[in-house]
Symmetry: C2
């Protein structure tokens, strides 16, 4: 009964689906899909080649199609929606909860979106509109708006009787307590409700200290709060302390995964939603932009080298050693950059410790610069039988590695101050700086001292 | 009352602590620290320069020092422990819960560890030992072993009376149900307990389908299960289905953050616990290794270039254009590599879709190769007034970008099959391949056709 070999669960499923598709055996696929929840089905769809996705879609039970759509990543969802019939999309939309619909609505064709919104009742429509008063990626947009609440002055006995009338979501730890004006007061943990005496009042056993979160708080900040305080859910309020909804830990798990994904993908110049199984042309187009930006920086490095073509013509060993100067600077810089990006994400870098950090990274860059510069120098002297080349590459490497370490701290700090994501543009700027400085130092010193 | 400006919370605290340390105002620090929980205190300590950490430590309440130690990252913890008195460590250790102690024990000095283990009572000692029958990073090592359970045959009324006798952890959603032999049967959600009728039996309202997890399951797999199924806690069992403990979502949040951190840091050749504020010498030593490995690959590239020194001597423009060949191959490869690493981590890549993926990435590499190679060729012809150079760099770029895309898929797949983390070694191998292929193609073609 226990779960075995989790990591192969989806791989096996994905393989068997592809096999069944080849055999045109739709019944087997339909049966297999029934055993999985919408989040799992979304993962499976994303792992299918693009052409197979719309073949599998009709085999998913129509009652969960809406939730599957909601769980897909943005790019995968948009491309699937492009291929589906309007009728199928409309019924999927109408089977969605309002809070799910909010995340999907922008991707639906205008006609379908209008029809789905038109099918909402007055209360649903009010909840739907509330979400859109808050920006994308904030608590207000992501929260669940269907929330059971209790009043502080009822007894636990009454509270229990009241709650029995509803089907509560199982994965939760508490009920939110509000006053008669819907103002947030605190949380009643189920453990308190369960272990308290029936005659006690909610007010006596509730947690008055449990802080709510303002609806305009970014989800990344909320994720950090969940991590630091081991939370399972928080209440979301507006500036007037009125309860608007709640955010559960499952939403936070997704947010942390997405944030980590974004950093990882951005550092490689990929869009946050880049989809491994997306069709070729759009993927090629998205990645071409990053290649183009990098080409500009590569030409900058070429231009620097071109300044010294007379030197290179005379000492061809310099051309041979150039990749070493560029590589050591690049590695030093990207190590520092990665640490700085993570430090910024965790909120650990402040103005009072950044000076110390700068000093530390320069010291590390300098130390490693000296050590590895000497190693490279010795090898260069032995290889080319020329002491001058050894001295020049040694000094150039030390300069380049110190500047790279310095840039690895300063570039992300400046980008962060300017409100630009350092994960996305940090590495290109860093490579440019370390290539230009490295080639300039190496070829410049050679021109000055070796000719 | 609501939480404002979360992202600046720690930065402000860290800055004020550094200021107070400068003024030697320990009382202010002590008061400020009292307002934060152990996880937050650990984050603050990690953000302090190394010398300040042991100054702040004695200002933390002794009752939570143990938990703070438990929340620190491995490297930060080890270096702090090095600086603390044995007596202080011993009292911190004795204030820890058994499950926390398990994670810290290896870092304590042997004498202190023995004393702390000696202070455990028999039941605690048994729980302590259970953890160590499972490998690091598995459920068995990370689980909480102090778990309240219920029998299936009691009424909800009796269950409630039983649970009232204990102080249950607030952040949980369920109680585990076992038979008289401690075999796992399922979970009783608090919502079911609360909304069920007092005369119903646990068996009637419990979730029989909630699967337990084997104690030797890696935490990364468990994290994926939590994400896919929106779980708050799971029961951990041994092969005989006996209940050993439970893992809560807070542990999973930490695991996801750590896994993401590891991928990000490993891709830059940093250790997973690398600490931004660690002292200079050990940091320099750890990073030197990665620089050394990269130096070997850089020399390999140099060696390839050296094979063509006669050609370079005659056509110095080739030396000027070399960075462009290397850079475009590197970018193409690392984009594919990053997507493949993420796909592997999410379990989306299987043997049946990997061939399609390979085809797709080669197509993207080839398409972008052709487009950008033409751009580069035109610029090169205009720059150097030599059509031959343009043709050579065009063909070399197309070859290099296709090979880089191919390597970006094949390298991580092979490393993964061999049980090596592709995030750590993937990028070095990829850079080596793309540099060697790029320079070989570019300079080789030039030697064959331009001399």
């Amino acid at each position: 009964m226990a779960v075995h070999q989790l990591s192969f669960l989806y791989q096996d499923l994905i393989e068997s689906i592809i096999e069944s598709l080849d055999k045109n055996d739709q019944e087997t696929i339909r049966t297999k899909l029934l055993r999985h929840n919408p989040a799992e089905l979304a993962l499976v769809i994303e792992a299918l080649p693009h052409d197979d996705r719309s073949k599998v879609w009709p085999l998913i039970s129509t009652t969960v199609q809406g939730q599957v759509l909601h769980h897909l990543r943005d790019i995968a969802r948009a491309s699937l929606i492009d291929e589906l019939e309007h009728d199928s999309l409309r019924s999927a939309g109408e089977n969605m909860d309002v809070d799910e619909l909010v995340e999907v609505i922008d991707d639906l064709p205008e006609k379908v979106a209008k029809a789905v919104i038109g099918s909402l009742d007055e209360e649903e429509r009010r909840r739907f509109d509330t979400h859109f008063t808050y920006a994308k990626g904030t608590a207000g947009r992501l929260m669940q708006t269907e929330v059971r609440t209790l009043r502080p002055d009822v007894t636990l006995e009454t509270a229990l009787r009241y709650l029995r009338r509803f089907r509560l979501s199982t994965q939760t730890d508490s009920v939110i307590v509000v006053d008669r004006h819907n103002s947030y007061l605190g949380k009643l943990f189920f453990t308190a409700l369960v272990t308290g005496h029936p005659k006690q009042r909610v007010d006596d056993v509730m947690d008055h200290e449990a802080e709510p979160i303002l609806a305009d708080t970014p989800i990344g900040d909320i994720a950090r709060l969940f991590e630091q305080r081991d939370l399972v859910s928080v209440a979301i309020v507006n500036q007037a302390n009125e309860l608007l909804g709640r955010i559960a830990v499952s939403e936070v798990l997704d947010a942390i995964r997405e944030e980590a994904d974004r950093t990882l993908l951005n550092m490689a110049g990929l869009e946050e939603d880049e989809d491994l199984f997306a069709p070729i042309l759009p993927s090629a187009r998205r990645r071409a932009i990053w290649l183009g930006i990098n080409l500009v920086t590569a030409f900058l490095a070429s231009w620097v080298i071109g300044l010294f073509d007379a030197t290179l013509e005379k000492i061809v060993a310099l051309a041979v050693l150039m990749p070493i100067v560029a590589s050591m600077g690049g590695i030093t810089g990207s190590q520092t950059l990665t640490l700085a990006i993570r430090g910024l994400a965790l909120g650990q870098i402040s103005s009072s410790n950044s000076r110390w950090l700068l000093f530390k990274e320069i010291a590390i860059g300098g130390l490693n610069g000296v050590v590895w510069a000497l190693v490279v120098a010795v090898i260069a002297v032995l290889w080319f039988g020329n002491v001058g080349i050894g001295v020049v590459i040694c000094v150039a490497l030390i300069i380049n590695m110190i500047i790279a370490a310095l840039s690895g701290i300063i570039i992300p700090l400046v980008l962060d101050k300017l409100g630009i994501d350092p994960a996305l543009s940090g590495s290109v700027i860093l490579t440019t700086v370390s290539d230009v400085v490295g080639f300039m130092a190496f070829l410049g010193l050679a021109t000055a001292f070796l000719l």
